[in-house]
Amino acid sequence: MKILPAVAATLFALAVWQTIVSLTELPRFILPGPMLVAETWWTNRAVIAEHTLVTAQEVLLGLAIGTALGIFTALQLATSKTARLLVQPILVFTQALPVFALAPILTLWLGYGLWSKIAMAVLIIYFPVTSAFFDGLMRTPPGYLDLAKTMQASPSRVLWHIRVPAALPSLGAGVRLAAVYAPIGAVIGEWVGASKGLGYLMLLANGRAKTDLMFAAMLTLGVLSVLLYVVISKLTKSLGDRET
């Protein structure tokens, strides 16, 4: 991503936004302008920072746990035909369910604290990670497997020395996708029941018609998500590079 065009486009969008608000003189609880949002963000920076920390914690833990579970599941599926026959249909079926609907239940089970949000994030990212890594593991170039067979390799060594490294770029793609989904999961968890976090703050601000604070919290979440995506992309890029 080139920085300069991105900055230019952002500035342009902000200018359009400000112009619309200034021209139409919309009340601030309907649509606050970017200047007002920036001002609100600055005056509330301590509150926003506190809630951001909570959400960031949920997102990072959710991402780590979800990725670990996804890797574990994909390895099991790739190495065991029985696991594939038994688990794969269930896995696909769970994707047909709206997992968001589970958020209230998770709060009931895990309480108002971090864990119900982490669980929501894990539920959302588990499938993309599992599916991407599993696909990679099943698409090992057949020539490598032929070669390994002529070398009398054991299945576990083929997995470790050939199939896993060959599938790392796919895993990287899955984790990048998870980095985008994890904040959504955490915020959904916070909407259903929380006393901290950016999702909670957004809901609170909305309820009190503090639309400017809602925007400030939302944009903070957006920046957090983009930062996370950039960092994860950098980390997983080294995996992808090995493919070429």
């Binding site: 002529t150 390799a153 060594r157 020395h161 090995r242 070429t244």
Partner: protein, 242 residues
């Protein structure tokens, strides 16, 4: 390396009831180069994969026997047109792949000797993407030799290379694989004419053996007998196509 045996494959193969190749008998003489020449789709790669006990998708009805009565598939090393180098591994790790896949320790003295003979000493820590096509194929050859197997199966090993690199690789392979029982599957009459102690042209009807020139392999590319053999082989192939 243990003593190189001769091998005989006898039988026919079919895919879902449709005949892939008619009953044939192919003999690889011990310690010699045998070239199996044919067009696409005649099943020559299937023959090689049967010897290696690799999946073929064809049903084989026949026998594979070594002259010493021992197994074949566990005594082969395999090299294909695609160099099959692992892109994430260094040249050294690629050459010693077999030992790692078996949980053994690589023979460092042997590795060192092969690096010198294949001219790869300077490329030890590089990844395959940093190498030319010819260098990559030399790494694949070194990996094949690192296995130190008496039987070598080569499936169009040099066909992706340019003409001069291919000729150089043929010379190197003959030098380094001396004493082993080698099967080369190829569609290149020139390659068969240069390399084969025995040459068999494979057709849907079966095998036709062609007597190679009496000179030692690798035969000079410009030698009249090599060129005559090459054109004889090409005519045979073209006759079948007609």
């Amino acid at each position: 390396m243990t003593h190189a045996p001769g091998i005989t494959l006898k039988g026919a193969a079919s895919i879902e009831g449709r005949q892939l190749f008619a009953p044939l008998s192919l003999t690889l003489d011990a310690g010699r180069w045998t070239c199996l020449l044919g067009g696409s789709g005649v099943g020559k790669t299937t023959v090689l994969r049967l010897l290696a006990d690799l999946p073929t998708g064809a049903a084989f009805d026949g026998t594979i026997m070594a002259t010493d009565g021992a197994g074949v598939a566990d005594r082969i090393a395999y090299m294909a047109q695609d160099d099959l180098l692992l892109p994430w591994a260094t040249v050294e790790k690629n050459i010693t792949l077999g030992t790692r896949l078996r949980g053994q320790k690589a023979d460092d003295a042997r590795l060192s000797r092969l690096l010198d003979r294949c001219g790869l000493r300077d490329h030890l820590g590089k990844r395959p993407s940093e190498l030319s096509g010819g260098q990559r194929q030399r790494v694949a050859l070194a990996r094949t030799l690192m296995e130190d197997k008496p039987i070598i199966l080569l499936d169009e090993p040099f066909s992706a290379l340019d003409a001069q690199t291919r000729a150089a690789m043929q010379d190197l392979a003959v030098e380094l694989l001396a004493g082993r029982t080698v099967l080369v599957v190829t569609h290149d009459p020139g390659e068969a004419a240069r390399l084969g102690h025995a040459i068999h042209v494979m057709t849907p009807a079966g095998l036709t053996s062609v007597a190679p020139p009496a000179t030692a392999v690798p035969r000079a590319v410009e030698a009249m007998e090599t060129l005559t053999c090459q054109s004889d082989l090409l005519r045979l192939l073209m006759g079948q196509a007609a």
